[in-house]
Symmetry: C2
Subunit: 292 residues, 2 copies
DNA sequence: ATCCTTTACTAAAGCGCTTTAGTAAAGGAT
DNA sequence: ATCCTTTACTAAAGCGCTTTAGTAAAGGAT
């Protein structure tokens, strides 16, 4: 392992003071252009690059922004990619944490971001408990919740308008002439879930139809598997339906699998609409209609 | 924003020296158990947690390990998840970089890892150019290449045995009785690609069959789309085949899409085997046979 | 009673930067 | 010729920790 170059070594090499070199590299106005040029060339030549631990400690700020999500292989993994692009444009440096739906890991991730002096945190929480998070961060750093509406007024969040999205999905189906629409949704109650259910019930009522809501079993972590099982049960239950609205694309993909396996053609015999707009929904084998 | 607690403030609070507090928190043997207990309780109570920038600077090591991949929504995103688990078990702290297949970003990521004093880098390179990477890192940090065999002897790498994997996939097909097998592969030449082709040719020769190799168009970034288009062309070309070996699952999924669309049943009429074992391959709608 | 250990601390230096205050030399104004 | 600015630096302190060397007090050995 080679020794790394430091500011002090570079300064010595140049016969300048450390402060002059530091200022030159940071483009301070009280350094002559000639000196700046010299310093930069020498830095480049010797492969000097500032130690960010020291720089950030001295400056008392960093450009780190934490992105804490539950699973990189989900819609949030795709959002992470867009976020990094946006962050970079603002000179910020995103640090990703995948909590794998483990709230212990989530805690640890937040703690770590605080300790590395991140300037902000974007969080897709495992459990929707903004107060716990606030207690953890102790207001030392701004936090933005992603993906779910947060009740607490003290907290910022960004989420999709699930009511509007659900309406979009269902209207699409009714315009196609569907009336017997079943809904596949999450098991755990949340604001988003109840808004979806509300809209669904409303529309079913307008159609004069019985609402049919199927929540996934709470112990099934694999969403596509859950959608698959749920749809199989649905098929054997004898309930009549011509369309499925799934609250998540992965649920819809599972449903499609079960339907196809049962010899039911999509969309000729049964229509399926998902929600999220994940990459997998667009796959040639799938081509799911979804709300992105 | 609240002021953060420092070691100095905690020491003052306790009436101890900073060094004593530091040692207590780091479990040095020359601090009495009673003092350690006191310090820890007070730290907990005041919400003290060491500034990692300062700690790492003082210790001259970190526990960071960089993981630089090309796309989180790929097999490497899934590997990242396993890697984080393994890293955490060893007290290491993984930092992910998604380069989005941009070699400029790759450079920047490596530079950044060096500047934050990462202890090691695991890299899925955009371009297979180990020497450039070595020049960049200047031997200051160990690098392990992931996913491809690296020719340079100075470099460590971890990859799958593509020859064995290809043989596995093809033997599976021949055991099922297939003889007219086509191969879908990457466009850019690489060691892995030529090893696959070598094995495929060998086996085709043993079968007394003409090898049929279809590389994807080099300008198509979406693999599943590439597989889809390739298979459509294949179908309209009139070439007879009963099985497809795709070098990547995404390619295979695209192929399945084209076959299904053409009314060809899988696996009754045509078999498809992929390679990678990505999550999407196991989806209910897909259920692709693959080499994981 | 004296000397040597051991115990449990503290003091001080250092990690590699940044930033504020200070300053010699040069340049302008009168 | 003198005084005031401006220019282009340097010195020194500080960011929040860790670690090495030093030390007073207590405990043991003889």
């Amino acid at each position: 392992m080679r020794k790394t170059m430091t500011l002090a070594a570079l300064a010595k090499e140049l016969g300048l003071s450390e402060s002059a070199v530091s200022k030159a590299l940071n483009d301070y106005p009280d350094i002559s252009p000639a000196t700046k040029k010299l310093v930069r060339e020498q830095a480049e030549a010797l492969g000097y690059s500032p130690n960010l631990l020291a720089r950030n400690l001295a400056r008392k700020t960093t450009n780190f922004v934490g992105i804490v999500i539950r699973d990189v292989s989900s819609i949030y993994g795709e959002m992470y990619k867009s976020l990094t692009v946006a962050a970079r444009h603002r000179g910020l440096h995103p640090i990703l944490y995948d909590t794998g739906n483990d709230s212990g890991l989530e805690q640890e991730s937040i703690r770590n971001l605080l300790d590395t002096k991140a300037m902000g945190i974007i969080l897709v929480p495992v459990a929707e408990d903004p107060d716990m998070i606030r207690r953890k961060t102790r207001n030392k750093v701004p936090v933005v919740f992603l993906g779910s509406k947060v009740r607490s007024s003290e907290v910022n969040y960004v989420c999709t308008d699930t009511a509007a999205g659900t309406e979009l999905a269902l209207r699409h189906l009714t315009h196609l002439g569907h009336r017997e629409i079943v809904m596949l949704c999450d098991s755990k109650t949340s604001g988003s879930r109840s808004r979806r259910i509300f809209v669904y019930r409303q529309i079913m009522q307008d159609l004069g139809q019985e609402p049919r809501i199927f929540p996934i079993p709470p112990d099934e972590p694999d969403l596509s598997q859950a959608g698959y099982q749920l749809t199989r049960k649905l098929l054997s239950s004898g309930i009549r339906f011509t369309a499925i609205y799934a609250c998540k694309d992965m649920l819809a993909i599972g449903a499609m699998g079960a339907l196809t396996e049962a010899g039911i053609r999509i969309p000729e015999q049964v229509s399926v609409v998902g929600y999220d707009g994940i990459d997998a929904a667009a796959l040639p084998m799938i081509r799911l209609t979804t709300v992105a």
